[in-house]
Symmetry: C2
Subunit: 573 residues, 2 copies
């Protein structure tokens, strides 16, 4: 395995051996270690001293189920802290098959030209790119696939990334040529600042990674897949309804943030629910279930068509539907699907975009509930108009531009989909994660709402700090394996699933790690990330929710009532 | 003396006795003490929990020369930290004559209405204001003066404050009905968030404050005025040429930041210099020297007319002329005067605006040197267009909107007029002041360039931390007296001037303070302010200049080369 270091100032590439300290790392553990070691914490995130890191996980390109995730790391333009943004698609598996442990993109070209980067078994080629400038991700993926063949992997930025907007994401081609996203924290802006329009990855003439103990690996992988298919969330709920199954659940729980976090239930929930989506997809001959990378057995993605049966979008997630839907008082799933498609195409984080539209509605740019107006706003982002430049920089930025005080963000990143006053464990994760408000960073919805991995009363404070802490540690470990975080549903309830992951890592690398070692890995990742953020100027004062969460949230009228000391308990490990 | 507390949520007013802990304070010491005690450091600066504080100084409305300054305090929307913004004009003297130690404006109305506040010897009246909404400060002052008479004092916001832009200032009427500004840090946005369009102050039927020892006061005031008129800076340079006398001096020193801080000298310096301005004013029958408040003997202001002899602006300062001039490569003093007038009228900090235009030029919104384009940008701010909302929020915000990395700010506030690589003591003040990049917070140009109060080599590091520290302490004390900071030129060179200030305070209040007590007051102010900022999440990581200052600054090719430890020495007291 090697590390490719691509210097965009000199347009040169070096292949490096993996230093000993990084050999046992992958995914988020590796991307965060590289950023922490090599990026000056006070550098400008869009300047020459930031670095963009791509890191497949420890189990990438193996036969393990759900092992296709890629970690993308950098100093975030959105939060000002360290960022790992995690995506499916085919890139991680292809990079690993090419023997690549990580790609580090550093420096910045002097001029205005953009470039493409092609990686294959011969090495890395940088070329000036002109034709695809100003184009959306769908066209980039189509064009690059025409050039290199349908199987080529693609990482690309849309217009938002070219504009270096703080909510710009990096799109990752999935096996069907559709789009997955390393969504949060502006990784697309960092890629745009390096002036890289796309990275194509051709893994022809490669084989999978060498496995130290293939038989042991096979047995563990089988046990792992079995657990995933047996658990009701990963075996039934997610495959049938996708993540949007959560609309009815959160609405019922009164924790579905509605009208820019004014209340926790939405009159139009049923019209945007996973159940409604399922029926709509089936009626329109879309795909209700679909995988974002080879080897996924959960298949929570889907293909959503319009009334005429034409493709609109895929990977149509609960958080996106929540945000453009309940958050903005829009109950038309077709309009929300169009918004999701536009976000994918222009390369804009759909969660940040949805929170931003809610703030723009709060600021009077358009009324709540105006679906066509929402689509028009996204068109402004695509154009790069001044309004678009405001919106494309996210919710915190838009709030400042409009003088709005009700702005749901932590560390500058928009709060997603679960009201912190109602799902309080989730609120602690939003407050304390080094990533900013990130629902995946420690998904306490499990024990608070889904009764997976035990039960902690969502309205109470008791047990929430421990819950968020343990989930953040476990998540940091899972994000380092290259496994999809959704495996956690099975892992939290089925001990054999966790054992299987440890066994797979041991069989892969000829190690004899224990469960405790994996937990220690998670802690080490979080410590590295927190240390970077502290060096960038963060303190526990950044681990706080906006003051408006002291207001009651109907219908349960709970408030955000943790003391500072209680919040700070989360990182007491 | 009393404190008026005006609650804009309930539209009620209370008169309170001055608590013992605040009785010996005035100006900045008082405004910062009130903000530190009463404002939650993590509140939203434009939300109901911020407070706007008006505080005349310890010597306000006495016969002391140059004692007309007002301190305006709040949590700053621009920096996120505590702010004291200091202005001339007649408000401070009138408030003191009305027996008012401070005005605290708190809360926030529910609806969209704006209000006016009238203060006179009968008390405080709040009324809804409709007619003047959307109007500029010149019209507000004219209209309010028509209503209450020419002598009425006025504090007002223009369109920028109504829009709650982070660079919005508060305008203070001067004795001629023209405009002085509490410029920096977005105090106008805070006033706008309280929905106060203007405050009128009528001090009819009042007398000056009671003086404990009138004879001693008279003698000290005389000695003080004598020192001011004898010192070459306050007695000759500033009265004749205004602060713009510094253009040629800084250009000569290579420290006049040119083209968004690319170099330290400007080809067009002569055309925008104080000497040129003087000749122009005289030729056009303006006023080359003019006072911003009653009792000023320095008279550094002026009235600048157009070619036809019509008034354009007054209080036309070096930093404004530098910013719109050298900073933007514009060498037309008439265009710069128009820009200054627009800023005064719409209530926009002219320093922040100038730095912002430089960043917009960097970002390709318009070319460097485009004077008419610059005036057009300011017109966008007045309109509140989306471009205007970007620009009106300042340089850091504009840099983010445009993806620009060369953004000269500290703590979010634009760096003024003196290149920190060339005038290094000034750089330390920019880096470490709790106010953000504020040239007045510790004006090391004195010893670095003007050889006032000794000499410290501007390019060297030796002695700069001590210089900046001592000046910041002295400034915090001067800002608490209500004296104009320019008295410091005399104070630094003439010991009798400093003694006279201490004598005046003692004679006024029947105290027996020493010089050390005054220094301790300055230290206490800075400690209070730093503590607030720390509670708001600031660390020493916020005491750093942007990374591009590591580049050389022609023509001297010096760099910003202080280590973190050396910077942190400034606040070692």
């Amino acid at each position: 395995m090697k590390i490719y270091r691509i210097n965009m100032a000199t347009l040169t590439v070096g292949a490096e051996e993996v230093p000993a300290e990084w050999q046992g790392l992958g995914g988020r553990a590796l991307s965060s270690a590289i950023v922490a070691k090599e990026v000056e914490p006070l550098c400008h995130p869009l300047g020459p001293n930031n670095k963009l890191v791509l890191a497949p996980g420890l189990l990438s390109a193996t036969t393990s189920a759900n092992s296709g995730r890629l970690s993308v790391g950098a100093k975030s333009p959105l939060t000002g802290g360290i960022k790992e943004s995690n995506a499916g698609g085919s890139a991680a598996q292809k990079l690993t098959r090419l023997g690549i442990k990580a790609v580090i993109i550093e420096g910045k070209p002097q001029g205005d030209a953009f470039y493409s980067i092609h990686i294959d078994s011969q090495g890395v080629t940088i070329a000036e790119e002109k034709d695809l400038l100003g184009k959306g991700n769908y066209e980039v993926i189509r064009s690059v696939s025409e050039k290199y063949g349908d199987k080529v992997g693609v990482l690309s930025i849309g217009q938002a990334g070219e504009y270096r907007m703080m909510a710009a994401n990096i799109s990752v081609k999935d096996p069907d040529g559709n789009i997955r996203s390393a969504g949060r924290g502006g990784m697309g802006a960092v890629m745009g600042s390096k002036r890289v329009k796309y990275i194509s990855i051709d893994d022809s003439n490669t084989s999978g990674p060498e496995i130290a103990d293939p038989e042991k690996f096979r047995a563990a992988a089988k046990a792992f897949a079995k657990a995933l298919t047996e658990h009701p969330v990963t075996g039934q709920g997610l495959p049938q309804y996708g993540t949007d199954v959560l609309i009815n659940i959160l609405n019922e729980a009164g924790g579905l943030p509605t009208q820019n976090f004014r209340r926790g239930n939405f009159f139009g929930a049923d019209k945007i629910s996973g159940e409604t989506m399922y029926d709509t997809i089936v009626a329109r001959k879309g795909k209700p279930t679909h995988n974002c990378h080879a080897g996924c057995v959960i298949r929570c993605s889907q293909v959503y068509n319009d009334k005429d049966g034409n493709y609109i979008t895929s990977g149509f997630e609960y958080e996106t539907i929540w945000g453009f839907g309940a958050g903005c008082l829009i109950d038309d799933l077709d309009v929300i699907a169009q918004a999701d498609r536009i976000c994918d195409d222009i390369g804009l984080d759909s969660i940040e975009a949805a929170v931003t539209v809610g703030v723009a509605m709060e600021g009077g740019v358009l009324p709540f509930g105006d679906g066509q107006g929402m689509l028009n706003l996204l068109a402004e982002v695509k154009k790069g108009s001044y309004l678009g430049r405001i919106l494309g920089n996210g919710a915190a930025f838009t709030g400042k531009a409009l003088g709005v005080t009700r702005v749901p963000v932590v560390k500058g990143q928009g709060i997603p989909a679960y009201d912190p006053r109602v799902v309080k464990g989730q609120g602690l994760t939003y407050a304390t994660s080094p990533m900013g408000a990130d629902h995946t960073a420690g998904y306490a919805v499990t024990a608070n709402i889904l009764k997976v991995g035990g039960y902690v009363d969502p309205h109470g404070k008791q047990g929430q700090a421990e819950l968020s802490r343990n989930l953040q540690i476990a998540t940091a470990a899972v994000d380092s394996t290259g496994l999809c975080l959704f495996v956690a549903f099975a892992v939290l309830d089925i001990p054999a699933a966790f054992d299987a992951i440890v066994d797979m890592i041991n069989a892969h690398y000829g190690l004899s790690l224990t469960g405790d070692d994996v937990s220690e890995l998670g802690k080490a990742v979080l410590r590295t990330e927190r240390a970077f953020n502290q060096a960038a100027g963060f303190t526990n004062k950044d681990d706080r929710l906006p003051e408006f969460f002291k207001e009651e949230c109907p219908p349960h009228n709970t408030t955000w009532d943790f003391t500072d000391e209680e919040i700070d308990e989360v990182y007491n490990f």
